[in-house]
Symmetry: C2
């Protein structure tokens, strides 16, 4: 049961005075394509709402390899769950794949509002249930599907995203090298 659909932090169903608080806490930031919004390892105590554009959340390994956790597009909310829950540095970087405009708010402010408003509590619960479900589906795909099948499914489910990203980034999301993805595409 969705109480409301998020179209930015200032649209939370809260009192006028708390809305003023939110307006004071929220910063609207712009980044250029290829900018890194937050670096892997940095503590990330903010929550983001993507107004326009597209970013990737990506892991860099010790051997210098990159893998992509997810793509976040306009209208979606994101942050580092790990950083939020443990206070440690984020396990991934956030990089703009297009020029973007994001709203940024400290986790702590959102936390306070959630404790105060049942509707926000329901929203938060639903958000994390959906996040868990998404990640369970990704777990299923890594376990049960081949790279080829993951590729076909992604293209089918996210045709718009495929248009907006480099093929190499799609490969890193699927867990294979860009070369392997190129081969897969041209396999008869």
């Amino acid at each position: 049961m969705k109480i409301f659909s998020l179209s930015g932090f200032e649209k939370f169903p809260i009192s006028v005075s708390d809305n003023v608080l939110v307006k004071q806490s929220v910063k609207v930031l712009r980044f250029n394509k290829n900018d890194t919004i937050t670096h892997q390892g940095e503590v990330c105590s903010d929550i983001y709402f993507m107004r326009t554009g597209l970013v990737k959340l990506s892991y860099s390994t010790l051997e210098g390899k990159e893998f992509i956790k997810s793509f976040i597009r306009d209208g979606e909310m994101f942050g580092s769950l790990y950083s939020h829950l443990t206070g440690g540095g984020s396990t991934f970087s956030i990089v703009a794949l297009e020029d973007i405009e994001v709203e940024v708010m400290p986790f702590s402010i959102l936390q306070g509002l959630i404790e105060k408003y049942p509707a926000l509590q329901q929203f938060a619960l639903s958000f994390f249930q959906q996040l868990a479900l998404k990640k369970e589906i990704r777990e299923y795909e890594f376990l049960c599907l081949s790279a080829q099948e993951r590729y076909e499914k992604f293209c089918q489910k996210n045709p718009e995203i495929v248009e907006r990203i480099k093929q190499a980034d799609l490969a890193l999301y699927l867990g294979v090298t860009p070369i392997a993805l190129s081969r897969m595409k041209h396999r008869q």
Copy 2:
């Protein structure tokens, strides 16, 4: 911030009358090793608390292959998030790896209690945050680690579980065949 640690549904911090409700709704069931508790495809509108024993949540593919989503041990809670959120059939089966004793309660009862008690709401939020985090860590492992590395990490983090499961089941959890895991173990 953990409000309380779950040691069974009857230990929820709720009123005496609601506790009676819970006691009436909860069934304690016993299953033998190798019994299937719920079958893939069946709607699973219950939530489980594992008193004693160990189960696996596993996917069966069309080609007759099996892959293991997770192991659930004594003291843990589980259910089908997908079935709960969509009303559809569960995407996985639940199979006892030891003789087990579980508490079973309809999701709907828990849902009602969550709406009534802030402490339970906080508990549910925390539960799904932790679930999402666990699945994000598994996503990281599939993306960034080799099968060998996933094996070593699992043994390191879950030595007790390794003792209690068949090596073949560990392989299916790691996403490789039992043969591949045997080879990995004996690789110098």
